[in-house]
Symmetry: C2
Subunit: 301 residues, 2 copies
């Protein structure tokens, strides 16, 4: 029910998360190696941020595919990302992959939860307000630009591509909001699917308001703000923003944290009695899109 | 310099290790899925055992390759192994791999070091004796049998294949010898290469005695005890036994632990002043084989 596990050790709560990315599935084979490394680190840091945890270190599982240039660029991006997020490389494993096989890269991040505890997906209650940090849809729009080909890029297009290639989860923001939220998750698979998971884990319904989606200037310049654009932003994923539920009486305190960090928080919905996800647009309920985001499969029965 | 990292948290020492295995590289594509799961768990448990650590849990990175039978058998083997080693599955990630691509599987194990601390590879001193637990070469002989094809298997052959497919690192043994050793490692890549790594990390020379290699009855029945057989056993790897250095005055205490566990410990060498690895056979120095075991590559400069 959660993207990260917790483990109590010596009076502290460890937060543990493991993410894998596979060439051709989670990143494009032509993505720069340094950006692939950044993304691998960032997706793990995003899981920690959603728990209010700060990193103690990471372990890396690296695939060698007989391309020393790629490996060197990856190491550079890895160093930059680990420095940025303040996460030392503790260890890991290096394996060869058969000739022509896609690389599979794994990372485990170990963090320490705040003294107030690690928020889960399961704490939301009817009456809570749903907030998201920053803007959404940028990375999805950036990926769509890359998939569409083309070379000359406007500044706005470059910003969207950067959002896809160099996601910037905010660990300190996560730590600072953790004591205020009833539930928290990172937006990795799509805002709607991640909101639906909070609803399912918490045993309440979540109503999302599509007209409230926070869209960046770059997104507005490149795509727009039609219903279709908003639907795209709310289901594209790869945002690595924080999705939070808070009781109304803590909305003010949350706004203070947002202001201190210079990060906009936007109210995008509310928890109500019942179950499941409903979608509103300009106050009217509309049908859920057929695809709410990226769906994981599950091996264990 | 070590197969596992340590991290101090709340007065406890965590031991963290991550191992990846890739289809066609670390296991045979026709190895039973349940055995692949067992091996993935066992190689990680072996790293913990070499630190005297007992597991607190594991995280799994699993590749889906559109084969539900394989996945179900893997899950069965995973459950059996985690139950055997007493390691709960805390979390992880499931990814799809492109059609036809080999599976890459990753596991992170988290353990707690004993109160006396986690032995490293670096503590051996000239004068220490070198011991190995159990027998070596069995898994290597089993793999050779599988690679050679054939169907009808003698009992001894079956035992060797089982040693390859279901390695049995001994966590409690590792915990019990940890306070006695000056250095410890698991024999994963080959006895000689792992002994050479202790020498390099500890800043002493290690002299290994090939005529002292502990060979199992099954190994003797299927292969023999010629110089070539002993060389094979000492370089084949996949043994997941414990390689230990102890000062002579603790040899008696070590023997008591071995007896209590019903596991033979064999003195296979000694640490002497100098550096590097030397090999003896019946008291005479002989040339090192060109290949001491499985060599890892390293991505970081």
């Amino acid at each position: 029910m959660d993207d990260a596990a917790t483990l109590d050790v010596g009076g502290e709560t460890l937060v543990l998360t493991h993410d894998m990315i596979v060439e051709g599935i989670h990143y494009r084979a032509d993505d720069p190696a340094a950006d692939v490394a950044w993304k691998l680190v960032a997706v793990n840091m995003s899981d920690l941020a959603a728990k209010g945890a700060l990193p103690r270190g990471v372990l890396l599982g690296f695939s060698l595919a007989a391309d020393a240039d790629w490996d060197r660029d990856f190491a550079t991006g890895l160093r930059d990302a680990l420095t940025h997020f303040g996460a030392p490389l503790l260890g890991g494993d290096t394996v060869s992959v058969p000739k022509g096989a896609p690389r599979a890269l794994g990372m485990t991040a170990i963090g320490l939860a705040p003294p107030t505890g690690a928020p889960s997906r399961a704490g939301a209650r009817a009456g809570d307000l749903v907030y998201v940090s920053g803007s959404i849809g940028d990375a999805g729009a950036g990926l769509a630009l890359l998939s569409g080909g083309g070379a000359a890029r406007s500044e706005a297009e470059q910003a969207l591509i950067a959002a896809y290639r160099r996601p910037m989860p905010d660990l300190v923001l996560g730590r600072d909001v953790a004591p205020l939220v009833t539930a928290m998750a990172d937006v990795s698979d799509g805002l709607l699917i991640d909101a639906g998971r909070i609803a399912a884990a918490s045993g309440c319904a979540v109503r999302m308001e599509l007209d409230r989606m926070p869209l960046s200037d770059a997104f507005l310049a490149v795509r727009g703000e039609s219903l279709e654009d908003r639907r795209f932003a709310a289901t594209a994923g790869d945002d690595y923003r924080l999705l939070m539920t808070v009781p109304p009486e803590r909305a003010q305190a949350l706004a203070h944290v947002a202001e201190r960090h210079g990060t906009p928080f936007t109210r995008v919905g509310a928890c109500v009695p019942g179950q499941g996800l409903t979608l509103l647009h300009n106050g009217r309920e509309i049908a859920l899109p057929p695809r709410l985001g990226y769906e994981h499969s599950d091996i264990l029965p």
